[in-house]
C-alpha cells in the first residue's frame, strides 16, 4: 500500500484532504489508480504533476518503481529560468 500525500501547494485543490492510499508499483499505476479512486484529485492530476518518492522528485517518469511503504508526494512540476 502506498500512502500518497499531496504536496503543500496542491492540497487546496483537493478539498484539503492530504492522504490518498492506493495499491501501486509504479508512478503510472499510482496516478491511474488515484484518478479512478479519488475523483476529487482530477484538478490536481489533470494539470500534470511531479511525484516525489522518498524525497527524490520525479518530474515525469511513469515507469519509475514505487516501493511499498515509500513516502510519496504529488507536487507541481517545477520550471525555471
Amino acid at each position: 500500500m502506498i500512502d500518497v500525500r499531496l504536496g503543500a501547494t496542491l492540497r487546496s485543490m483537493a478539498g484539503g484532504r492530504q492522504s490518498f492510499p492506493v495499491e501501486a508499483g509504479t508512478v503510472r499505476q499510482v496516478l491511474e489508480r488515484l484518478q479512478g479512486a479519488y475523483p476529487e484529485l482530477s484538478p490536481v492530476l489533470d494539470q500534470g504533476v511531479a511525484v516525489a518518492i522518498d524525497g527524490r522528485i520525479y518530474r515525469n517518469s511513469m515507469l519509475q518503481p514505487v516501493p511499498d511503504g515509500a513516502e510519496v508526494y504529488l507536487m507541481p512540476r517545477v520550471a525555471g529560468g
Binding site: G16, R56, Y58, G81
Partner: protein
C-alpha cells in the same frame, strides 16, 4: 530506466579549471549570435507594437503598407491559424500555446503597451520601418491597470473579461484579474502563533526586473514552398522553440528545423518565443528568408520581465529563536497572461526553514504589462525578500546573531520540506557554518555601514536530455548536446566525458546540435543542464567504453568479461585472458572501421534525481545619509554545488546571480506612466550594475554531494539570485535603523525611509 551508479568523490579532471572552449571566439568577436546570421535574398522583419496599454483592435488596414515598394509581406492576427484555449498540443510545451500565440500577435485586444499587432518583411530596415507607419489601426482605447494590488480590486479594469479565478471555493461568479488562488497549508497556524514569544510582520513590494541579457532577441527564418522551414535563433531551448512554433503555426514537428546560435545571456527570458513564429510566417508569405531583431526598447516593452509583487507576511518565534509559524499572502502579477511564479516562489521562501505551521495564500494576477517570463529562480527572490527580512527583524528583536538564528531553524537531511517531501542530503547547515566562519565577517562595519545576511533555496530539476558522444578515428571525441550553453555546459560536458573516458580534456569538444540531430531536449533552465546533460554524457561515455571493451576483446578473441577499462585503455584481466598489450583509447578508435564501424555512445534520458540547492549571502554596505546612495563594500556568496565540475563557471554563476540581485535590490524597476506606458525602456534609465558599481564578489563553493548524480552535481544557476534582495535590504535597514520594504531601494526611497516619510 535510471543510470546505475555510486556517487564518486575522487576525480582526475572534474574540479579543474581548463580554458573555456567558447572563450576565443567570444573575445575575438567571431562567435555567431542570433543577429549575426544571414541568408541570400534575406528580408528584414519589423513589428508594429501597440502604443496603448489596453485597447480593442477594431480594424487593421495594411493596404498602404503592402503597396509600398520593397515590402514583400505583411502579417497580422488574420494570418495566424485559428487555435483556441483548448487546442491540441504537439511536442513538449510547458506554457499555454493559446496564451503564447496571443502574446506573439495580438488578437481582439492589445493587452499591454508594446504588444505586437502587425509585422512586415521588406528589403531594408528603412523600408520596413516606413511600412509600419503605413499600417492603419482603428483602436478603442480601454481603461488599464498595471499595479498588482490595484488589479485585484473588484472595480479594476478587466484584462480578460471572461477570466474566472481558478482554485477558489466556491467558484466566483464574476470575472476578475485574479487568474488563480492557491493555498499552501501545513500544521496549525493559530497554535503556532500562540506559541510565539515574538512576531515580526510587514508588507513588502518588489518591482518588475528584466533579465537584462545583453543580446536582444533575434532570429532568421526560412520557409520553403514544400512546407519545410528552418529557423536560427538565440534561445535557451531550440527544441521548445520548434515545438511552440509548430503549434502556433500548425506545422508538423519534423517540418521545422531549429538551430540555436551562441547566446548573449538568457536568465530565463529566452525560454519562450516572441519573434520566431512571426518571422516564419513572414518568410512563408514572402518566399524569402527573414531576419528579425528586437531593439533594446522592444526587449523591455515586449519580452518578459519578472513579476512585480505585493507580499504581506508574518513570522513568529520563541524566545530562544525557534520559528513557530509563518503566514503570508503573496500577490504576483504575470503580465497580461496567467502564469506568474507565485506558487514556487512562496514555497522557496520558507523552504530553508523547519517550520511546523505555515499558511501561504498565493494569488496569480494579470495586469496590462508584458507577459512575465522566467527569471533565474522564478518567483523565489521576492518571497525570500519578505521572509528573510522578517527573520532579520526577529534576530534583532531577540538579539540573536542572524546566522545563528538561521542555524537554529535550518532544514537538514530528514527534515520535512515546506512543499512536502523529506529532504535527502542537503548542504544548508554547511553553508551557514561556512559563512559564519568566513574571514570576511571579521570586518567591523563603520559609521553608516552595516551587514545583511540572507539565505536562498531552489529545488532544481532534471528533464529530457539527449546526448551523443562520437569517437573520431584520431581518438578525439565530439559531444553533441541539445541544450544551449548559457553557463559553461560545453566545458562541463567535456570534463565529464574526459573523466569517464579517462582521456585528456583537450581531446574532447562539444557542440550544440540542431533539432534534427538529437532526440528532444528540454530547455536550458531551472539549473538543470549540468545535472541532466551530465547524466546523459556520462551514460553515453560509458556506452563508448562498453563498445571499446567489446572491440578489444574481439580483437584478442577473448570474452568481453575478460577485459577491463583502466586509465583510458582496455587491458586483459583474469587468469584466462591471455597476455595482450593494452589497447589504448586512440588505438581502438583508429581501428574502428575494421572492428565494426564508427564508435558512438548515445543517451536519451528523462533525468531525475536533481539535488536541492541552498545559499547563504553576506552583504556589507554603506549608505550615504545625504544622498541615499548605497555602496556595496563586500559581498560573500556561499552555496552548495554538490560537486563543482568546473569551479570557474560555478563561481561565475554565484557572482552573476549576486550582481543581478543587487541591481534588482537597488536600482532596477519598470516605471509606468499614468497612461500605462513604460517610461524607462533602455539601459540609460533602467540601471543595471556594471563592474565599477561592485566590489569583487567573494564566493565559497560548498560541496555536499547529491546522491542523484554520479559525481554529486547540484544545479547552481538559480539560487544565487534568491538571497541578494533580502541581504541588501537587511544591511540597508541596519545601516539606517529603519526597515526597508520595497525594491528598488533607490536613493529617493532610502532618503524617504531615513526621513520617516516612506
Amino acid at each position: 530506466m535510471e543510470l546505475e551508479f555510486t556517487t564518486r568523490t575522487t576525480f582526475d579532471k572534474v574540479g579543474t579549471r581548463p580554458p573555456r572552449p567558447d572563450g576565443t571566439d567570444k573575445v575575438t568577436g567571431r562567435a555567431l549570435y542570433g543577429a549575426d546570421l544571414a541568408g541570400a535574398d534575406m528580408l528584414v522583419g519589423k513589428v508594429l507594437r501597440s502604443p496603448h496599454a489596453h485597447a480593442r483592435i477594431l480594424a487593421i488596414d495594411t493596404s498602404r503598407a503592402e503597396a509600398l515598394t520593397g515590402v514583400k509581406a505583411v502579417v497580422t492576427r488574420d494570418d495566424f491559424p485559428h487555435i483556441g484555449p483548448e487546442g491540441t498540443v504537439k511536442g513538449e510545451v510547458e506554457e499555454s500555446v493559446w496564451d503564447v500565440a496571443r502574446n506573439v500577435m495580438a488578437r481582439d485586444k492589445a493587452l499591454y503597451e508594446g504588444h505586437a499587432v502587425a509585422a512586415v518583411a521588406a528589403t531594408s530596415t528603412a523600408v520596413a520601418r516606413q511600412a509600419l507607419k503605413l499600417i492603419d489601426i482603428t483602436w478603442q482605447v480601454l481603461p488599464h491597470v498595471t499595479d498588482v494590488d490595484e488589479a485585484m480590486r473588484s472595480d479594476a479594469p478587466l484584462v480578460h473579461e471572461d477570466m474566472i479565478t481558478a482554485g477558489m471555493d466556491p467558484v466566483p461568479e464574476e470575472p476578475s484579474n485574479i487568474a488563480e488562488y492557491r493555498k499552501v497549508e501545513m500544521g496549525d497556524i493559530e497554535a503556532g502563533f500562540a506559541a510565539a514569544d515574538v512576531i515580526a510582520e510587514q508588507s513588502f513590494r518588489t518591482e518588475a526586473a528584466h533579465q537584462g541579457y545583453i543580446e536582444p532577441h533575434a532570429c532568421v527564418a526560412s520557409a520553403s514552398e514544400d512546407g519545410l522551414a528552418e529557423l536560427w535563433c538565440c534561445t535557451q531551448g531550440h527544441f521548445s522553440v520548434r515545438d511552440m512554433c509548430a503549434n502556433i503555426l500548425g506545422m508538423d514537428l519534423a517540418s521545422l528545423r531549429v538551430t540555436s546560435s551562441e547566446i548573449g545571456g538568457g536568465f530565463g527570458g529566452k525560454t519562450t518565443v516572441f519573434l520566431e513564429p512571426v518571422a516564419l510566417l513572414l518568410s512563408r508569405k514572402s518566399g524569402r528568408p527573414v531576419k528579425m531583431t528586437m531593439s533594446r526598447d522592444e526587449v523591455f516593452r515586449a519580452s518578459g520581465p519578472t513579476s512585480s509583487t505585493s507580499i504581506t507576511a508574518r513570522i513568529g518565534a520563541t524566545r530562544d529563536g525557534r520559528i513557530t509559524a509563518c503566514d503570508a499572502t503573496l500577490r504576483y502579477q504575470g503580465g497580461a497572461f496567467p502564469g506568474s511564479p507565485v506558487g514556487i516562489g512562496a514555497v522557496c521562501g520558507m523552504a530553508p526553514y523547519d517550520c511546523p505551521n505555515v499558511v501561504l495564500h498565493c494569488y496569480d494576477v494579470v495586469v496590462n504589462r508584458p507577459k512575465a517570463a522566467a527569471y533565474r529562480a522564478p518567483g523565489a527572490p521576492m518571497a525570500a525578500f519578505a521572509i528573510e527580512s522578517l527573520l532579520d527583524d526577529i534576530a534583532r528583536k531577540l538579539d540573536i546573531d542572524p546566522v545563528e538564528l538561521r542555524l537554529k531553524n535550518a532544514v537538514k537531511e530528514g527534515s520535512s520540506s515546506v512543499y512536502g517531501p523529506t529532504f535527502g542530503p542537503i548542504g544548508f547547515e554547511e553553508c551557514l557554518e561556512t559563512a559564519r566562519d568566513h574571514p570576511s565577517l571579521e570586518a567591523v562595519p563603520g559609521p553608516n555601514q552595516a551587514r545583511g545576511i540572507a539565505a536562498g533555496f531552489w529545488p532544481n530539476f532534471g528533464g529530457q536530455t539527449s546526448v551523443t558522444v562520437n569517437v573520431n578515428t584520431d581518438g578525439t571525441v565530439l559531444v553533441s548536446l541539445g541544450t544551449p550553453d548559457i553557463g559553461g555546459s560545453r566545458a562541463s560536458m567535456c570534463l565529464m566525458a574526459a573523466e569517464e573516458l579517462q582521456i585528456p580534456y583537450e581531446r574532447v569538444k562539444a557542440i550544440i546540435a540542431d533539432t534534427s540531430a538529437l532526440g528532444h531536449n528540454d530547455t536550458t533552465g531551472g539549473s538543470r543542464v549540468t545535472h541532466s546533460a551530465g547524466l546523459a554524457t556520462i551514460e553515453a561515455s560509458r556506452k563508448v567504453i562498453d563498445i571499446m571493451k567489446r572491440r578489444a576483446a574481439a580483437t584478442w578473441d577473448i570474452d568481453v568479461d575478460a577485459v577491463v577499462w583502466d586509465q583510458g585503455c582496455v587491458r586483459p584481466s583474469g587468469a584466462n585472458a591471455g597476455d595482450h598489450e593494452p589497447l589504448t583509447f586512440d588505438a581502438i578508435a583508429a581501428m574502428a572501421s575494421a572492428t565494426g564501424g564508427p564508435i558512438a555512445g548515445h543517451a536519451e534520458i528523462n533525468a531525475e534525481g536533481a539535488g536541492a540547492s541552498f545559499a547563504v549571502h553576506v552583504c556589507d554596505l554603506e549608505v550615504d545619509p545625504e544622498t541615499g546612495r548605497v555602496t556595496i563594500l563586500r559581498y560573500l556568496a556561499v552555496q552548495d554545488a554538490g560537486k563543482a565540475i568546473h569551479p570557474d563557471y560555478v563561481e561565475g554563476q554565484y557572482q552573476g546571480g549576486v550582481t543581478q540581485g543587487i541591481g534588482w535590490a537597488l536600482n532596477e524597476e519598470y516605471i509606468y506612466g499614468s497612461d500605462g506606458v513604460l517610461q524607462n525602456p533602455g539601459f540609460l534609465d533602467y540601471r543595471i550594475p556594471v563592474a565599477s558599481d561592485l566590489p569583487m564578489i567573494d564566493t565559497v563553493i560548498v560541496e555536499v554531494p547529491n546522491p542523484g548524480h554520479p559525481y554529486g552535481v547540484r544545479g547552481v544557476g538559480e539560487t544565487p539570485i534568491v538571497p541578494p534582495l533580502a541581504a541588501v535590504a537587511n544591511a540597508v535597514s541596519r545601516a539606517i535603523g529603519r526597515r526597508m520594504t520595497e525594491t528598488p531601494m533607490s536613493p529617493p526611497r532610502i532618503l524617504a525611509a531615513i526621513d520617516g516619510t516612506s
